[in-house]
Amino acid sequence: MKNRVAITGIGIVSPLGSELPFFVNKLLEGVSAAGPITIFDPCKLPTRIAAQVDDNKLPLRTKDRKVGFAILAARSAIQDAEKFGSPLVKGERSGLSIGLGLELFSMPDMIDYLHGKRLIDFDPMEFLQTPSDVCVPRICKEHQLVAPPLIHISACAASTDAIGCAFRMVREGRRSWMMSGGTDSMINPLGVGGFCRIQAMTQRNEEPYKASRPFDRDRDGFLLGEGAAILVLERWNDAVEREARIYAEVAGYGTSFDAHGISEPHPEGEGATLAIQRALKDADVAPEQINYINAHGTSTPKNDIAETKAIRRVFGKRADSIPVSSTKSMIGHLISAAGAVEVAAAILCAQKNFIHPTINLETPDSGCDLDYVPKKARRAIVSYFLKNSFAFGGQNSSLVLRNVIK
């Protein structure tokens, strides 16, 4: 028998704060988290803006930012899940499913290493260590997660995949509960430099708060963000039994490949269409039941059009009446953490009977003809909704979720 799967805890570290009420209020106000890069001096790089986490307010700071973000988000998620009802049963058949960014090293450290500095002089947990070897055991140990961890590296789809796989493991009875989500920070010289080199990022340095403008005619690339989100997923019946607060239900998960281009999506959104269709089928939910879509919505010229086409292919005429919004318009693109933070954003807004806006959408592009909830949040009763994440390299991931209406 398959289990229903409840989301009972949310922990975030985001460019719009790490306290859930603050985060959701900023989303509904349509606030941009973008600003000049201050983590390092970008000097003359073409892009000198990003959506940064204010880590001065965080209780844990690590040299590689994504490690600390993940640990803090996990702690917050457990606290949130245990805020109501009896505690989660630790140990037996619990696990972690997490989307992670790239290896840990800084360019100054790498240059020291290449110049012959001894290995012993480097922090073994910070230099050329994998995030999976650093933050995964820490989180598992702290929260007594005993199952083999599921580590996802599908880039921009990684944390959506993490939630999807955790959902399946709980649904099939292979795990009793799981922590799932993602963490990333590529706001460092090599990360920003690399994305600049392939001209993927916005260069609207003089107007950071207007830089991320998904679906807008004048968009010029994505705004890099950073952060983490961890959700607690557990068997619905267990959540009810321990009288936990249930935010939402994960209902379905689907993935696909574009098998098309290395950096560009299939122009007709073929792979994205497959992922959405598979998620709907997995959830046994008809397209007519979806009444909100949280888009991948990167603000890159090709993605926004391909995603729009995919939504049209799946939902047909009804696509005109489904609100679609992009969290990235406010917090930028969190890469391996993007999907999880955006799922959290959509759920928290839906719990308040709102859909957050797509800010900076002034003139929709000619290929972008859906209802993108421009500029202002909208009051709405959200029931079933869709979350899309599409990775560089053509991995497409979609989730179907059901908001638990209070």
Binding site: K141, I151, A259
Partner: protein, 279 residues
């Protein structure tokens, strides 16, 4: 091994085909026959080439048709540590250093311009699975993970679940180990793997439902948050080469066994895993 997480298949999964490559030298990897577009080779790092070659061999040996691959096959892959090539990192470093120290000013003007734009593609860990999907035209579901050798088993478990749930008809499950790399070797020194030979390797298994012979009977995994040295056994024999995440698929492809055999691996990330086969 503490059998904490055990999967026994009521209907064993058939091993339909295997494919692998083990290369002591880069020149031994010939990916060109497997490429849909030869111009894509410049975008490929060594991991990508290893994965495409091994998966191409496995798909061919399993006699999967184009239609099978496109619509009925899922792809499950474990890759190794991120393979920045020394030459590319050194180029950035050389053009971004002032008196031996990193200079952001130089990086943003000179070093940045010297970065090969293709480096951004070659260093991403999801690129091997992209190149496999592109060249074999696979649109199915996926799971991609890294970097522990035993993490391959997590990918294998996900493939088995997808087959059992009838989400797919065929699963291509692979592991890639780009090991002749200065950063990977650095990592191995720290994790005590250094005593074994570490060739570059990749291997893929093709599995399907309802097998009667050459079958995967089950697998089990255990995870303890401690560091353990790499250790591997195949049919009660200690394995001499370290093949990382590629090890099971390479052994099944290149060291034929018969009867009931067990493959066991434990890796530095605290994972222990074993699988049970009737071959």
């Amino acid at each position: 091994m503490d059998p904490t997480f055990e999967t026994r298949f009521p209907h064993p999964l058939k091993l339909r085909g295997t494919g692998s490559i083990v290369a002591a030298q880069d020149s031994e990897i010939d990916v060109l026959p497997w490429l849909k577009y030869r111009k894509m080779k410049k975008f490929m790092g060594k991991q990508d080439e290893l994965a495409v070659t091994a998966c191409g061999l496995a798909a061919r040996n399993a006699r999967l048709s184009e239609e099978d691959l496109r619509t009925k096959t899922g792809l499950y892959l474990c890759v190794g540590f991120i393979p920045f090539e020394r030459q590319e990192i050194e180029t950035i470093a050389r053009n971004s250093s002032d008196s031996g120290s990193f200079s952001m000013d130089l990086f943003s003007t000179k070093g940045f311009d010297e970065v090969n734009p293709l480096l951004t593609f070659r260093c991403l860990p999801n690129m091997p699975i992209f190149h496999v999907s592109l060249n074999l035209n696979i649109q199915g579901p996926y799971f991609i993970t890294y970097p522990g050798a035993a993490q391959f088993y997590v990918a294998l478990e996900q493939a088995c679940i997808a087959l059992e749930q009838k989400e797919i008809d065929f699963a291509l499950v692979g592991g890639v180990a780009d090991q002749n790399n200065f950063l990977v070797q650095h990592h191995y020194k720290r994790t005590r793997i250094g005593t074994k030979a570490t060739p570059d390797a990749a291997g893929f298994l093709c599995l399907e439902r309802n097998g009667t012979e050459r079958v995967l009977l089950g697998l089990r995994m255990n995870y303890q948050t401690r560091e353990t040295a790499q250790r591997e056994r195949w049919a009660d024999t200690e394995v001499k080469e370290h093949l990382g995440a590629a090890s099971l698929a390479v052994l099944l492809d290149q060291s034929p066994q018969t009867g009931n055999v067990t493959h066991y691996i434990e890796s530095v990330d605290g994972m222990q895993a074993e699988s049970f086969w009737s071959l």
